[in-house]
């Protein structure tokens, strides 16, 4: 298992007025598997992905990334795990505005301590692969939404992570661009034998995945 989470509980707010968003969600993903978490807006998809991606500690439950208990590690080791094993794609591209697309894509490598030559080389070949090499020295604010999301996807996979967590990756794109980005994600999963967990409420995106699960009333149900 690349990722497995058992009995995840998450809630927001103070103890007396808290909203329980996840009430024992469990999920496991095999190598190379592309899984879609479906659920209406507000059902807790983002909350789940943040818990699985070691960004927000769940109230209860374990998250195993390649067998390692992510929330049991020191914050330093956890950061390293996020850097090497997990890739993130967000609904909004969340590229760094002050850096060019290429620099954005290089960022995880630089965080890992690679030289800028290595990082540049990797970033360029990935930009080529996702089809925006001609935009590599542009700043995010000067390219289209689809191009930004492609750059964000390239950034998510540059460290060859075991799993990519994508939170509504096409949620902010028009339908034509959405289709292209969906196709790209499926291709990348295929090529790298890489696992993807996609949160979405779109049935179009969910159509192509290997497996769908539903998030409902804070727990995950198989299709």
């Amino acid at each position: 298992m690349v990722l497995s989470a058992n009995d995840i509980h998450c809630s927001y707010g103070s103890s007396d007025a808290s909203i329980k968003v996840l009430k024992g969600a469990s999920i496991s993903i095999k190598t190379g598997e592309v899984v879609a978490v479906m659920g209406p807006s507000g059902s807790g998809k983002s909350t789940l992905l943040h818990a699985l991606g070691l960004l927000e500690r769940p109230c209860k439950g374990k998250v195993l990334i390649c067998g390692e208990d992510g929330w049991g590690l020191s914050s330093r080791r956890r950061a390293e795990l996020r850097n090497r094993k997990i890739g993130f794609v967000f609904q909004f591209h969340h590229l760094l505005e002050e850096f060019t697309l290429k620099e954005n894509v290089m960022m995880p490598c630089l965080i890992a301590g690679e030289t800028s030559e290595e990082a540049t080389q990797k970033a360029e070949s990935l930009l080529e692969r996702v089809g925006i090499i001609h935009r590599s020295s542009h700043f995010p604010s000067t390219v289209s939404g689809g191009e930004r999301q492609r750059a964000a996807i390239a950034r998510a996979i540059i460290m060859k992570p075991e799993i990519v967590l994508a939170d509504e990756p096409t949620g902010n794109l028009d339908s034509k661009t959405s289709l292209e980005v969906e196709k790209l994600i499926m291709e990348l999963a295929e090529e790298g034998n890489r696992s993807f967990l996609l949160a979405t409420h779109s049935h179009d995106l969910a159509g192509a995945v290997h497996r769908k699960v539903f998030l409902n009333s804070g727990i995950i149900k198989k299709s």
């Binding site: 960004l55 950061a79 850097n83 909004f92 965080i111």
Partner: protein, 398 residues
Amino acid sequence: MKQKLLWALARRHVWSNANSTVVRMVSILSMAGIAIGVTSLIILQAFMGGFTEAITTGLTKMNPPLHIYVPGGTYMDDFDLGVVQSIADEIPQISVIQGILEKPAVVSGAPGTVSGAMVRGVTGTELIIGKDIARELGVTAGDEIRIASTAGVEISGMGRVLVDTIATLIIDSVGDFGIEEYNSSLIVVPLNTARGIFRAPDQLTSLGGYVNTGEDPVEAAELLNSALYQEYVGGGWPVYMSCIPYLSFHGNLFKALGLERIAMTIVLALITVVALLNLSSALTMIAMEHRRDIGVMRAMGLTPNAVFSVSLLRGLLLGGTGAGFGFIFSWISIFVVNRYFPIKLDGTVYWIDVLPGVFPLTTALIVTFATIFVCVVISIFPAISALSSSPSKALRYE
């Protein structure tokens, strides 16, 4: 490598063309504030220090550092000089003791000119006349002047002025004595010439002592003074001669200057404090603008320590650039003012007629680095709040 990344992040956060105008504005203003604070502190020190230094050099140039005198104004003579000399021989800090005869006189130069002057006789000098009095008398090196001792002036019943000695002398050189008062009234002549003018064959008005290079005149003065005291009290006589460091004649002036300097330093330091407060709000704002970016970086594996460092580096960059500019700008201002726009003073009031700015290197470095240090300290607070904010929350919304 990682260090380079942190610098790059901090640098682009505070300064990048892709930044919002607000962030750039805030960055510029906070740097400008720091630069102004540092510049004004350094410039103040330059001119206050320059003034004190010019006066001190002026005073020490024309006066021996040790002043030996008879309280009450009684005259001394060559015997007293001999006594002091033999006592001073025992004090290793003191090199030479010299006799001085200084009295007012009336001088005239070119036809029709006349002026009051102080004539100072010391051994081993040529005749040097202050540049301003030389101009007033219309004379220069090689010209003749006539000096009349006012000691011989008497107003008779008929109202006539009798001047009993008039010496005619040749000027060897015109001197710049550093202080306006000396330039406009002092004539230095050989001791024997002065004794001739004032008809005082072995009289002296005071003694001057010199210290060996590197010795503290205040300490030497104390040593000599207590040796003189021992000499008289030990011999059963009342105390006759005393010694003080020359500059302590002007002790009140230097105290006043020092006090003024402290007061103005405090005022300008407050300007710098305001600039630092401004920087702290700028840093908070920059941190808020980049909360999401930091969340993204955390998601990509940036450690909390690195997040902390980036926040500190922002402060270091803004503070360092501001303070660095302040340092350079103050140096340039002082240079330009000295060179092209010298500050004119009324010499009769301030003793010197141009206020010199002396770049205070040590002080400037201290001010600059202290400011940078405080900038980093100030950025600790936004850094802590950056650590405590959850990356998850920052990432949720656009």
